[in-house]
Amino acid sequence: MKHFEGNTLSWQVVDGAIELLLHRAPCNEIGTATLIELERFVAALDSMQKDSHALIISSARKEGFCAGADLRELYRESQPLPLAERLAKLRDFLERIHAVMNTLDAAPLTTIAAIHGVTFGGGFELALTCDLIIADKMSRFCFPELRLGLIPGFGGIPRLKRDIGNAVVRDLLLTGRSINATKAQSVGLVSQVSAEGDALRVARATAAQLKKFDRATAVAAKHFIKPIPHGDLRREIDIFCDLFMRPAVDAALRKFVESTDALPYLP
C-alpha cells in the first residue's frame, strides 16, 4: 500500500522516499491508536521498500515531532484493572511497540527523522530508530520519564547508548532535562540542524542524495554499523514493568493526568 491516510498518521511514496507523517493532536502522543497504525505501516514497509531507498518520518503538528507516550491513556486504561492484568496489558503494549521500533531500526532503507519542536520520551525514542536525525533549530529533546518514576520504555536508552557517549546518556536520563538542537548536534545525536521549519526540506534533499548510491551497499553498510541492542532492549522492558507497578508511579501519573496547570506536574 503506497498511500495511507489514518487517524494518527499517513504515508506516501515520493520519488523513491517513503514519507511517514504523524498527525495526531495535540502532539502525536503514542497510544493504542498510533501503535495500531504504526504496526500497519511496518507491515506495509515490506512491499514499499522494494521500490524505495529512504524513509522520512516527520510530524504535521506544529507543536513538534512527538511528545511521547500517551500517558493519559496509559493511566486511564490501566487504573480499573487488577495488578496482574495491568502488568500483562502493559507488557503487551511494550512488546508491540518494541517490535515496531525494531523493524524501523533495521529497515533496509536509509531512514531519516525530520524533527521540529517537542521530541520527548517516546517521540525521542522513535527518532532514535532512524539512521539520521535532521532537526530544525527549535527542536527540543528530552527523556522526562524519571520525573514520573519510570525509565524510557520504547527502546530509547539502549539506542541512545549505541549512538552516543554514556556520560551524555546519563545526563539526559538522570536529570530529565531537555536539550535544544544545537546541543544535540554537539553531542553527536543530530546530524544536521536546519532553519526553523526547514527540516523536512533538508531531509528530502538528503534522501535525494542517497538515491544516487547503490542500494545493496547502503543496506550492507547500515547493518554493519548499526546493530540492534536486543539484550538491552529486553532488559528495558523488564525494568520498565517492575518500576511501573510501584504505587509511586501510580501517584505521579495521576498527578500528571489530573493537572490543569499551564506547566503540568513534572518534578
Binding site: 502532539c27 507543536e63 513538534g64 511528545a67 519542536g117 517537542v118 533549530k137 527549535m138 527542536s139 527540543r140 528530552c142 536529570t175 530529565g176 532535562r177 531537555s178 536539550i179 535544544n180 544545537t182 546541543k183 496547570d261 499551564a262 506547566l263 503540568p264 518534578p267
Partner: protein, 80 residues
C-alpha cells in the same frame, strides 16, 4: 557587558516579538504564562529561543516555579 536590566529588556523584547504582544504591555514582574497566554509547550519554545538568543544552555529544571520575566532574566544572567 550585559546587566540584569539589559537582559530583562532583551527577554521582554524577544517574548513580545515572538508571541505578537505589544512590548509596552509587558513588564518585568508579569507572569509570562498569563501575560503571553502560553502553555507548557510554548514555554519550552520560549526557552529554546532564549537559549539561541543568549548562546547559553538553560536546563528546564532551573525554571521550575519561575513564572515572571525578571526571575527568568536572572536565571539567564547567571549563565552569561
Amino acid at each position: 557587558m550585559s546587566t540584569l536590566e539589559t537582559t530583562t529588556e532583551e527577554v521582554l523584547t524577544l517574548a513580545a516579538e515572538h508571541f505578537k504582544v505589544p512590548r509596552a504591555q509587558l513588564n518585568p514582574s508579569d507572569d509570562f504564562f498569563k501575560t503571553l497566554g502560553i502553555n507548557s509547550l510554548q514555554a519550552l519554545d520560549l526557552l529554546t529561543r532564549l537559549e539561541h538568543h543568549f548562546h547559553i544552555e538553560l536546563p528546564d529544571y532551573e525554571l521550575q516555579g519561575v513564572s515572571d520575566f525578571r526571575t527568568l532574566a536572572e536565571r539567564i544572567q547567571s549563565r552569561l
